[in-house]
Amino acid sequence: MVFDSTLLLLSFLIPILCGLTLLGIGNLSKPIVRLVSLTGFTVPLLIAVWLYFMFIGAPETDGYRFLTQLDTGLSDFGIHLTLGLNGISLPLFFLAGLVGLAAGIHALHSDAKRKQVYLSLLLIMQGGLMGTFASVDIFFFYFFHELALIPTFVMIGIWGGFGRRTAAIEMTIYLTLGALISLLGLILLYQSSGQTSFDLITIREYIASQPLSETLSKSIFGLLLFGFGILVSLFPFHSWAPRGYAAAPTAAAMLHAGVLKKFGLYGLIQIAYPLLPMGATHWGPLLLWLALGNVVVIGLITMAQRDLKQMVGYSSVMHMGYCFLGLVTFDAIGVGGAVILMFGHGLSVALLFLLSTAVFHRTQTYDMKEMGGLVSRAPILGAMFVAATFASIGLPGFANFWGEFAIFVSLWNYQPWVLVPAAAGIVISAIYGLRAVAWIFFGKPSEALEEHWKENAVVDLSQGERLSASLLFAGLLFVGFFPRIFSDYINMDLSPFKSDNAAMARSVDPAIEPHGFIVAEYQKEEGSQ
């Protein structure tokens, strides 16, 4: 038991220490850099896998497993380094490990200058990500998020592409604003819960015994919603995302869009919704419209993109809208779907960023209209890209499908008309996704490209690219075919979304829930027909 909790601690300490080693000791030889960084990237995933299998057998305390508490010097304010996992954080913890390793492998094989510093920043980011999803203390939850965010800025600023300096500063200011607003919300929550602890469990117990007043609940929720919303690129606070991702180096974009961005949604699901249901119902209608803005408005903007990386960036903003729609329903199915979609989207968007860079290396342009005919020269890349596009559209067989499906079911119960724009969004994403595939891989290459290819032979995916793409792909497929490996665990911790809301919205039969919500919704579908 102690062993597993220690693993949780090591899951972020090892990457951070590896990162500091690379940062502190200059000019190590190549094999050593490789060894140290691979250790830092692999260990978190191994720990995540191990903890996944230990999860169900581990004793549960207050809804968390592997719970452990350490003092870092702020215990007078009730701040402890409290680590633990529950059913909602488990998939995201796993996601962080998986995408981290994929990004790490990609970075190792990349041709970045000053690679050692690059890898060390990526390792620190990886450590921060693991810490974020392992923290039960909301102070450290925030702290680790920032720890992961700062290297992102630096990486964009130094190793980014076109317009990197502007993008880095814009992203820094925007995200700091979001982070500070959410920090205010978190402090206000701590403040109004008797000022004894930043520990989520303690706060939850306190609020359960003494509910917050309605105004307080509304204002805290508002702060958290907009603070986290900025971090998740909620419409209309999204403008940093496409520009930032377009400029970011691939590994940083993979980790940020894939994992770090989910922090805000995760915070809403773990903190804001369960603790502040009154605030949630108050802000729900507005959030619904903003989320639809993400889906429809950003969807249309995505369609207009010709730049591949911008398109992927916008599409990631758009899919966040579905996660928000899942939250708006305030229902176990919708929220569970949002968590699955976060997992699936994290993998698919990371895969798309990776493949876009691979495409760029072979065509020397991001302008999709300049490309064409790549599939005959790089068939594996083409197949991977098509599959990744399918995954991001949400076709069955990929993890995203289950998420979007559950969200749609839940929306039908919530307000049926919302399904119309939401489904239109799927059509939109199919249009831009498939059109991109057509532009890049089929048809005739432009003359410039022909010239380029005459001089430089096109090679298919290199070993590094293939390895990291396969990792992500495996995750997508695995959860796509066996969603229960996560859905059962997620379902265990969705109780706040089942109890008080069920009465308000619909009659959800609690008897069928133990099978997991995916099964439950099938049965409900059949029943309603």
């Binding site: 010097g73 880095a168 000022q195």
Partner: protein
């Protein structure tokens, strides 16, 4: 003549309490004597003596705490000095500040070939002034200590005689400093006169004494003379802090003053002012909170906004540090307003000051190293490509600026967090909102600076570095620099990960 007062003072004279101050004054005098005795070639010895002498003092002070950190607040010298745990921390703070200033000064003075002994001696005397200032419990001691500090700074600001910027800064500081001293003195006299007025209720025999004055002010809260006196005293102190509307001297003076002096002004002088303000509003003026809370809140809001907004377009880094320092004074003022209702906010302010010291001296250290022939001429452009030319200094600069901006996991973040927590507890929501706006604004200029230093890997079309011939010269970093600046950065990071200091502070009895 009333001799009983003298007898009183003599009986409570406990000179042992002032040993660190006496040591520093003696050190300053010894330096001056050595200057006369030694030849110019032996100057290095004097510098070593000054710095290691102070380090020794620091060591001795820390050593004495093994017998137990002072836990009780008591008065000595017939109630003119007050000593307790908080004052003790501030004394340590000033000694550390003095060591770092002396260290930066040796780099600066060597570069500019200016006399060194006088600079170091004045630094020591100013430090003693600040140490007495934070312990003062009576307006005469208070004023004399404050003037010692101010007059010392008049000299230091204008120290670089050959630079017109330095002279101009010195003159500006002299005129405005004298004005503020006059306002302060006027305020003290008004309080003294009102406090001794036999017709007013609660008249006290010794209206200069803070404790006696507290009772008198509580009894005469709406007396116009008292109010005018209080506001004038606070204005005089606000000048040292650089709070709006007494901030106008800051950019010019920081710009012209030698970089180590700017650092000294930014950290130690500001800390002294903030601490004095804290003692005043929680001590003698505490009963006027209905007036002071709105007044100081307004000042805090204006200070934060002024500092951040004016720093946005700055290209000169010395002015940038000055103006952003105004913003930091604003955040500290938020802590002071919170301290009027929340007891532990005092420690939040002190913790913030400590993180500010660590971060600022790191940044000023890099500035001192990089400054060219004309010290006032330090533009953002000079930092271009620092990450390539001198990665160590770029790292120190990044950590220092990140901490000043309040980015986790650096110390500055914890400092801001504690101030925010205190403000939340005191219910100062408007101030919090303004602080957040300020922090976000500050990201722009702090990261703009980091961008110049780290992100800009500019290559001219011809393939040469764009930074020109002057900057292309290698920047030397001595082992001592690595230890000092690296240590400051390490502390900034360490205090962010393990803010044990905050816990230690909280455990102190108030």
């Amino acid at each position: 003549m009333n001799l009983s007062a003298f007898r009183d003072i003599a009986s409570t004279n406990n000179w042992g309490l002032l040993l660190p101050e006496i040591y520093l004054v003696a050190l300053a005098l010894v330096l001056l004597v050595f200057e006369m005795l030694f030849r110019r070639e032996d100057l290095a010895l004097i510098i070593r003596l000054a710095i290691w002498g102070q380090v020794l003092l620091l060591g001795l002070m820390v050593l004495s705490y093994f017998e137990g950190f002072p836990s009780k607040t008591g008065v000595a010298f017939a109630g003119t000095l007050r000593q307790g745990p908080v004052e003790e921390i501030m004394r340590l703070f000033f000694v550390v500040g003095s060591i770092l200033t002396s260290y930066l000064a040796t780099i600066y003075l060597k570069k500019n070939d200016l006399p060194r002994t006088e600079f170091l001696a004045i630094t020591l005397i100013i430090t003693v002034g600040m140490m007495v200032l934070v312990q003062s419990n009576q307006f005469v001691v208070f004023f004399v200590a404050l003037e010692t500090v101010t007059i010392g700074f008049y000299v230091l600001v204008a120290y670089c005689r050959k630079s017109p910027f330095s002279l101009e800064a010195g003159l500006k500081y002299l005129v405005l400093g004298a004005l503020s001293s006059a306002i302060l003195l006027f305020g003290i006299v008004l309080l003294y006169g009102a406090g001794g007025n036999p017709e007013l209720p609660g008249r006290v025999a010794d209206p200069m004494n803070f404790d006696a004055l507290a009772g008198f002010i509580a009894a005469n809260q709406s007396n116009p003379l008292v109010l005018a006196g209080v506001i004038m005293v606070l204005s005089g102190v606000a000048f040292k802090v650089g709070a709006v509307p007494f901030q106008i001297w800051i950019p010019d003076v920081y710009h012209g003053a030698p970089t180590p002096v700017a650092a000294f002004l930014a950290v130690s002088s500001k800390a002294a002012g903030i601490f004095v303000l804290l003692t005043l509003v929680t001590g003698p003026f505490a009963s006027l909170d209905s007036v002071l809370v709105p007044l100081l809140s307004t000042i805090a809001v204006l200070t934060i906004l002024f500092g951040n907004l004016t720093a946005l377009p700055q290209r000169n880094v010395k002015r940038l540090m000055g103006l952003s320092g105004i913003a930091h004074a604003g955040y500290l003022l938020v802590g002071i307003v919170a301290a009027m209702t929340v007891d532990w906010a005092v420690y939040a302010v002190i913790f913030y000051l400590v993180t500010y010291l660590l971060a600022s001296y790191g940044v000023f250290g890099v500035m001192t190293r990089l400054s060219g022939d004309e010290d006032a001429d330090q533009e953002l452009d000079h930092y271009e490509d620092l990450g390539q030319r001198q990665p160590f200094l770029a790292g120190v600069l990044t950590i220092g600026l990140g901490s000043l901006a309040g980015i986790p996991p650096l110390g500055g973040f914890i400092g801001k967090l504690l101030i925010f927590l205190a403000a939340f507890q005191a219910g100062l929501y408007t101030l919090l909102a303004v602080s957040v706006v300020g922090v976000v604004l500050s990201i722009y200029y702090y990261f703009g600076w980091i961008r110049e230093a780290v992100f800009r890997v500019w290559r001219c079309p011809t393939g040469e570095s764009a930074s020109g011939s002057k900057d292309a010269a290698p920047i030397e970093v001595t082992p001592m620099d690595s230890v000092t600046l690296g240590g400051l950065s390490a502390l900034s990071v360490g205090i962010g990960f393990f803010p044990t200091l905050a816990e230690l502070l909280m455990k102190l009895p108030g």
